[in-house]
């Protein structure tokens, strides 16, 4: 029997850049990630983070295929799943093309994609802006309580 525990039932497939913006692997990326990880932690989102997007498809494809499979199982059990991508990075920094293929092969809908901008426009460099973007993609009953 499934019993309740402390889990949020909210999961985000998040670009590595938004978790590790200061990585040496991203020396050539301009822009700021904003307080995305702080918001995700404070608001109780569970993370599913593929490897850095710069590593190439041989690494990305199997990782993304596994993540998509997990996401489909979460959706089947009524967990909220959102994809958090970066506007301007190749494939949103989160392998959006490979995710689309993986979800299609699984016969499942692609979760809603939220694209954050690194130039500070649309409020993506503030916690309030990140929360608003996530809230717009999250069913009301699954959203964090204020």
């Amino acid at each position: 029997m499934i019993r309740d525990d402390a889990r949020s039932r909210r999961v985000v497939i998040v670009a590595d850049y938004l978790v590790n913006p200061g990585s040496a692997l991203y020396a050539g990326v301009a822009g700021r990630a904003g307080p995305v990880l702080d918001v995700l932690v404070e608001d109780g989102w569970g993370l599913m983070k593929p490897p850095p997007h710069i590593l190439g498809e041989p690494v990305g494809r199997p990782a993304v295929t596994t993540i998509a499979g997990d996401a489909v199982d979460y959706q089947r059990h009524d967990y909220a799943v959102v994809i958090l991508a970066v506007e301007g990075l190749p494939q949103g920094g989160v392998w959006l093309d490979l995710l689309e293929v993986a979800f299609r092969e699984l016969g499942a809908p692609m979760p809603t994609v939220v694209r954050l901008r690194l130039d500070g426009s649309e409020g993506a460099d503030t916690a309030a802006g990140v929360r608003a973007a996530l809230a717009a993609a999250t069913p009301r009953e699954a959203a964090p309580q204020a």
């Binding site: 029997m1 499934i2 019993r3 525990d5 402390a6 889990r7 949020s8 039932r9 909210r10 999961v11 590595d16 978790v19 590790n20 200061g22 990585s23 040496a24 692997l25 990880l37 995700l40 932690v41 608001d43 109780g44 989102w45 569970g46 993370l47 599913m48 983070k49 490897p51 850095p52 590593l55 041989p58 690494v59 199997p62 990782a63 596994t66 993540i67 499979g69 997990d70 199982d73 979460y74 089947r76 059990h77 967990y79």
Partner: protein
């Protein structure tokens, strides 16, 4: 970053996503915040290991002991996941990162120093009490296969520890004191 070196921690999946836990074992909403705070404060980048239990049996899986997961099919699944992980670790090592692994002690899969045991489990689920199986020293099946993948490529298994969130006697405060010591340790010579 305390000393300017590059550091990356590969953490057990559920340390960044408690939604992946088997029912009743999630101790917080999403991310295990005290760990993530410490990783960032000590200059570690964060990489997340896949959860082989989740991808093998899903979020509605039963409680299982290490003995139940120790099958050729599950080990094969773990080995497939391990190949991608070690491919990624190899890139970090190539860029001169200090790589550490933080598992989930007490877990049948992700335990590094402590795993689960209950050889009598099987068949109709019944009689399981809060806390589940017993604990014994040693690695879970997933960590064992991950270590095997490193060694099959002639690579050393990175410095590793575990957070005993799947132990019946887990104490977050004590665990984080121990984690502080682990994270502050200098990079091991190549």
């Amino acid at each position: 970053m305390p000393d300017g070196s590059r550091r990356v921690a590969y953490v057990a999946h559920c340390l960044a996503n408690q939604n992946a836990k088997v029912s009743e074992f999630a101790k917080c909403a999403g991310v295990v915040a005290p760990l993530i705070e410490r990783l960032r404060a000590n200059g570690y980048e964060i990489q997340q290991l896949p959860c082989p239990e989740m991808s093998y049996l899903g979020v509605a899986r039963w409680w299982q002991s290490r003995e139940q997961y120790d099958t050729p099919g599950y080990r094969r699944h773990c080995r497939a996941l391990a190949r991608t992980v070690v491919d990624t670790v190899a890139v970090h090592m190539k860029h001169d990162y200090d790589v550490v692994i933080i598992g989930l002690d007490g877990s049948p899969s992700s335990g590094v120093r402590l795993t689960s045991t209950k050889a009598s489990w099987g068949g109709r689920p019944e009689g399981a009490i809060s806390g589940g199986s017993d604990r014994k020293a040693g690695m879970g099946v997933w960590m064992t296969e991950l270590k095997n993948e490193f060694e099959s490529r002639g690579m050393s298994f990175p410095r590793a520890t575990g957070i005993a969130m799947d132990s019946q006697t887990f104490d977050m405060e004590a665990s984080m004191i121990e984690m502080d010591e682990f994270l502050a340790a200098p990079k091991e010579p190549a």
